[in-house]
Symmetry: C2
Subunit: 344 residues, 2 copies
């Protein structure tokens, strides 16, 4: 078994540990943010962590009514002309805590007097030392190059933070169900073999919207880095504004979603793509998705839409793993990659 698959399997226990272990730190941060509410959030991150930031844009936006911006790190590093951050709370997300560009954004934010938070797996990292407050993911070492457990742990940390800022008993109960839901997602592993043949490359489109746009981006990245399939994610809305021209008969499209306000958009695009004879497959959590049983892996975790990016990310990791194996690629060591990338 590859390390990637092993680490995918650790996610229920990682989530359980995070809910218990990080609770007090997150509560303290929530109290501080409630006492002096920031004008919004700025999040600096790269790769998978940037997809966690995209998730926060929707989660903090809808649950906390907070405006979330994703940082353009080169303004802080190469150009040396960072924007004025006003009273924003600045969050840096980095598994290793060693990304110089993410650290640079947090350092500048402190200079400007912003409250800064590090979300990282390395509590002693540069990033953790640069920030005022730290949420330690404590997932144990992630040795596979493609991120899995640190991605869902970052999502969960953000969801816990959202809850700490605006507590709601129902959402709290849903958070407590996350470890069990991730375990249920793992049980779908074999079923995913039905979807793998559609995604053997050389290219694929992954579509989501709303909360699961971040999941679509993350699954596209996983497919690209573990299986060398050039997978491109779009919001259904952006896709219909132009890129849809790329598809023709047989073109592989993966839809990712759950019941909720954007579900109808996925149904509609599924029908349109079926009319073009695309090869449409789907990962859904909740009531049956728009596709037939053959083309869908369908989970019923019972989580609210806001938390389905966790279960769906696990399905996407398992799927990317199966695609890699089908292509006889070692998912632990993608070509041309080291685990820690130190871009500036």
């Amino acid at each position: 078994v590859s390390r990637f698959r092993e680490e995918i399997g650790e996610q229920p226990s990682v989530a359980g540990r995070l809910l218990l272990g990080a609770g007090p730190a997150v509560e303290a941060i929530g109290a501080r943010l409630r006492a002096s509410p920031p004008t919004g959030f700025l999040i600096a991150a790269r790769g998978s962590s940037d997809h966690a930031a995209l998730y926060a844009k929707y989660l903090f936006g809808s649950r906390n009514r907070a405006l979330v911006s994703l940082a353009a790190p080169s303004l802080f590093t190469h150009y040396g002309r960072p924007p004025r951050l006003g009273g924003a709370c600045v969050i840096g997300i980095s598994q290793s805590g060693a990304s110089p560009d993410v650290v640079a954004v947090v350092e500048e934010a402190r200079r400007q007097g912003c409250l800064t938070i590090a979300i990282t797996n390395e509590a002693g990292s540069l990033l953790a030392r640069a920030a005022d407050l730290v949420i330690a993911l404590e997932t144990g070492p992630e040795r596979s190059v493609p991120a899995s457990k640190t991605y869902t742990a970052s999502l969960l940390a953000l969801a816990m933070l959202s809850q700490a800022i605006d507590p709601d008993p129902k959402f709290g109960a849903a958070l407590a169900r996350v470890p069990r839901a991730l375990a249920a997602a793992l049980e779908a592993d074999q079923e995913l073999d039905r979807l793998a043949p559609a995604l053997l490359g050389p290219r694929a489109v992954v579509l989501g919207r709303g909360f699961n746009l971040s999941t679509a981006e993350e699954i596209a990245l996983k497919l690209t880095e573990t299986s060398y399939v050039l997978a491109r994610a779009w919001s259904v809305a952006d896709f219909e504004h132009g890129p849809i021209a790329v598809v023709d008969a047989g073109f592989p499209v993966l839809l990712v979603g759950s019941p909720g306000p954007v579900a109808a958009d996925l149904t509609e695009i599924a029908e349109r793509l079926a009319a073009y004879s695309c090869r449409v497959v789907g990962l859904f959590d909740g009531a049956a998705g728009p596709l037939g049983a053959d083309a869908t892996v369908h989970l019923s975790s019972g989580l609210p839409e806001e938390l389905t990016p966790l279960t769906l990310a696990v399905l996407g990791q398992l799927l990317a793993h199966r695609v890699a194996l089908a292509l006889k690629i070692d998912p632990d060591h993608p070509r041309a990659l080291d685990k820690v990338t130190r871009t500036w």
Copy 2:
């Protein structure tokens, strides 16, 4: 000659007209923003216009030291839970002014008491009526489905707005040179035939960083919608964090850039990709790029880096047009697309 190519050719005169015609409106908006500075900017847009918004993130960030967020429209439409916008200035960008989701963001911003600006080619559109202030692009009708002149006009309108907020004689002089620079870009049309064979599909990667990350995104979209090449753009930094695993010998990669603080990153990635025997080609404006003469189309517009996204977008449009012709695709009518997409 296709309409797409005709409209590409109109860009120098469109830019000249915009500089003169929109000057007073933009000056008035600049005065208003100087009198009561917003806490930042929120921009709502789709497709090419969203790439103009990405340009503004770098331009307003570095020139005006303003934090720019890109809106998540579904929070305003499907979820009905928009974030609190505080004292942000909210800009909607839409060629047609008919995108219901962009209009919804601007309407909510007005409800929240934000100053709102529409950048649109249709001065009588829903978007123009929803906003407090309008910058009319006045490009004349854009009849080709892939945007060209409305894209560069949107970039120029944003650059004029940046200058109106923080006037600088040197930047003003550079703005005045834009029409001539776009004319120079048009003269490179034939040269682009050298690059087209690398980009005939089925997939390609387009890389930029900083100001020209927006250009990389826009060129990837143009290739995807006019030539059905699945082209995916990344910031060089994000690319090195994972997606670089996708490339192997012969994989086509287009680099887009100009001299400036991020140029060394492009040189470095070009060398790394060359070591993997990728098929690397480039579009550069300014001193010679990192690639040999065969693989590069090289312009010397004399524009500062901040304005090279205009000239490089024109080179990208011409290139996408040549790729479409080589593939015998009608660039005016991409399959599956209408000019106005009304996503909600």
